[in-house]
Symmetry: C2
Subunit: 222 residues, 2 copies
């Protein structure tokens, strides 16, 4: 596309959310210009009428084009942004495998590893969710990490022969899995892959949680 | 592709699983030949060493090509099978929206609507999961149905201008949502869409649950 044809992009996102960080990382690595509108989903900003008009499902991130069209779901946004770039292979079977890993991430990984992080850092220390949900989050999250470890014993990346959007999707919450109470020492191939992702060109890291969330993470014992 | 180039396909699936029914429906509507290998995931058949060698994540469906290559994740399989057919639009933005709905299905719909059906029909009447999980499944499942209802008030389909794989993905468990204790009377646009899907060419319905599961569904009161 010529520069005049490239639509301007606005991301509505919560900077310390892994799902939102996925978009920031890909946009930075693509060298795309974009506007970031901070939406504090932990304080109800995804439940306002204005936000629900953009995404009736009430979740960040949302991508908005300059003509007002919107797209929800972090991994669908990654896929749209990466089309025709080095971050998504051309080969149909490799593309299918990458998409498979991205569905794995949303179904078998994020609901446990990201949710454990949220409960430990974004709910009070006396929240009943800690006892009720963390054990299952840890059990299922470790299962997901074991599946990743097994894959990485015979492959360098999740997207295909090179780094790309399936790696970005899985990196976001795996990198901060310790916030959820996950020790990654048992997953050496995962740790090596995290290091390889951090070394990719134009890599940017997710901001640290706010002090109140960092304090809750530090005080969490389970 | 010429007939000699079309790979033969094997689906490993549990026939009364909506995630597996998605593949049967698309394959029938594409007129593709395929072999179906029944895997009773409710009785541990996804946890055998043979099955875990195909999908380390231990889930059906899995698609296998004649050269032994495998692909997991129902919606990634739908996307691969539909490429280049009428079931997936060519327009990049429409494709992105379709994929957005497919991620919505796996993240915001299936974990509540399908899981409610499983708990009511595939766990004993005295299972602690009924009291512990069904209320949240019903709350979140109704939120997902409301998002679908809103979309269908101004659009006929989820895939784009026509019926396709996002509709197939969302139809599978919405059609059997009453098994999960969901009354669809409050969602007239969803009901009309279900009727439109059932009228598509070569539509095939999911088999009824086995008698023991049908009895549990009938005896469920929450």
């Amino acid at each position: 596309m010529s520069p005049e044809q490239v639509p301007s992009l606005t991301v509505y996102g919560y900077s310390v959310s892994g799902n939102c960080q996925k978009l920031r990382l890909l946009l930075e690595q693509l060298g795309r210009d974009y506007r970031w509108v901070e939406i504090d989903s932990a304080h109800g900003e995804t439940r306002t009428p204005e936000f629900l008009a953009k995404n009736p499902n009430g979740r960040v991130p949302v991508l908005e084009l300059d003509d007002g069209r919107v797209l929800a779901e972090s991994n669908a946004i990654l896929h749209w942004l990466a089309e025709g770039t080095e971050f998504l292979p051309d080969d149909p079977w490799q593309r299918a495998q990458a998409l498979g890993w991205m569905f794995f991430e949303q179904y078998s990984h994020e609901p446990y590893i990201a949710v454990a992080r949220f409960i430990r850092g974004w709910t009070p220390l006396d929240s009943p969710r800690r006892a009720a949900e963390l054990p299952r989050c840890h059990e299922r999250g470790h299962q997901a990490l074991a599946v990743m470890e097994r894959h990485l014993q015979s492959a360098a990346w999740f997207t295909g022969p090179g780094y790309g959007i399936a790696d970005i999707a899985l990196f976001a919450y795996t990198d901060v899995a310790p916030h959820g109470g996950f020790d990654l020492d048992a997953y050496p191939a995962v740790r090596d892959w995290l290091t390889r992702v951090r070394a990719t060109r134009r890599f940017v890291t997710m901001p640290d949680p706010a002090p109140e969330n960092a304090a809750l993470l530090a005080a969490s014992t389970t």
